[in-house]
């Protein structure tokens, strides 16, 4: 059994570039890349403006590959938050991947174990959304997902590197309108997240809590506290309706 699998993998390696599932995957990643470009550029520019070097900025994209966490991280770095707070925040922001990953697992089962770190690393909101609508009728689902996720990954790293290095060489200046890029992005991401009245209530509650804790506790803990408590309110509302 394991030898058969090995044979299949070896064969796949040689056919790497004309594998139809892999190709279909990377083709489906194109709209994702288009969406990543402006966010990656903005992330790169903001990170350098907030004091990271272009190399650090790109390294974060290469290793972390989580757009919203990275934006949150640079926002917190700029606010001089504690490293522990940044890491906990990253964990909270990424917790939603538990859901995505758990439902994707229904399509990606009984694979050799070493596949999972790679597949898992490539799970994002975007790759998940595309995969869920298209993976059903693919023959080699894991290869489709790797093609999809890896192509999107390259797009993310590329666009954030471009943003970072451009900002290093051309000084766009800090402050002014650039300060509003992140809030504007949060606005639209939030609107895209919301699909029910209870989510609106959770968002408003979270916003109020965040302001309250920011005024009373030092060090960016307001975001974590507000998030956790507001999500509990969501559970409470759901339980009562």
């Amino acid at each position: 059994m394991s030898q058969r699998e090995e044979n299949i993998i070896n064969k796949n390696f040689t056919k790497k570039f004309n594998d139809s599932s892999l190709k279909a995957g990377s083709k489906d990643a194109l709209p994702i890349i288009l969406g990543y470009l402006p966010i990656g550029l903005a992330y790169g520019m903001l990170a350098v403006n907030k004091g990271l070097t272009p190399l650090q900025t790109t390294a974060m994209s290469v290793f972390v590959f989580a757009g919203s966490s990275q934006l949150v991280a640079i926002e917190m770095i700029a606010a001089e938050a504690a490293v522990v707070a940044i890491v906990i925040m990253t964990f909270l922001v990424n917790l939603r991947h538990l859901l995505l990953s758990a439902s994707l697992s229904l399509h990606l089962r009984n694979l050799p174990l070493y596949y999972y770190p790679f597949l898992g690393f490539l799970v994002t909101d975007e790759s998940f959304a595309v995969a869920m609508s298209k993976i059903e009728n693919k023959k080699k689902k894991q290869r489709y997902f790797i093609g999809l996720g890896f192509t999107a990954y390259l797009g993310w790293v590329f666009s954030s590197a471009v943003g970072a290095f451009l900002t290093e060489f051309i000084n766009f200046g800090s402050g002014g309108a650039l300060d509003f890029v992140l809030p504007a992005m949060f606005v639209v991401l939030l609107v895209m997240q919301i699909s029910s009245r209870s989510e609106i209530m959770v968002a408003i509650f979270s916003a109020l809590l965040s302001i309250f804790f920011a005024l009373t506790i030092d060090g960016s803990w307001n975001i974590i506290l507000a998030t956790v408590l507001a999500a509990f309110l969501g559970v409470y509302i759901s339980g009562n309706s």
Binding site: A42, M60, Y116, E199
Partner: protein
């Protein structure tokens, strides 16, 4: 710090995929998780437009706050990141020119 971020990004993405298989999470956990994105974003957004130097900044001179409303409108109408961010920048520039 990046290392810490790598670890905590990796865990929720990989573990469920490798371990959960067809097991179900408790429903209340799933519901709690589903509210996290909206809660996080709101918690981030509010201080970025309402606070300045760690105190409330409720004033017509708060350009970000003024620009927030038309930006929210664009976000609701288009649900598009590019339009919203570029619209937001334009509103911000107009607002700062007027004040």
């Amino acid at each position: 710090m990046i290392f810490g971020m790598v670890v905590v990004t990796f865990i929720p993405r990989v573990l469920p995929l490798a371990l959960l298989g067809n097991k179900e999470l408790p429903e209340s956990v799933v519901i709690w998780l589903s509210y996290i994105p909206a809660a996080v974003l709101a918690a981030l957004l509010a201080p970025s437009i309402l606070l300045k130097n760690s105190s409330l900044y409720l004033s017509l001179e708060n350009t970000a706050l003024i620009a927030f409303f038309p930006t929210l409108l664009v976000a609701c109408k288009t649900k598009n990141i590019f339009y919203t961010v570029s619209g937001g920048l334009i509103f911000y520039l107009i607002a700062s020119a007027l004040v």
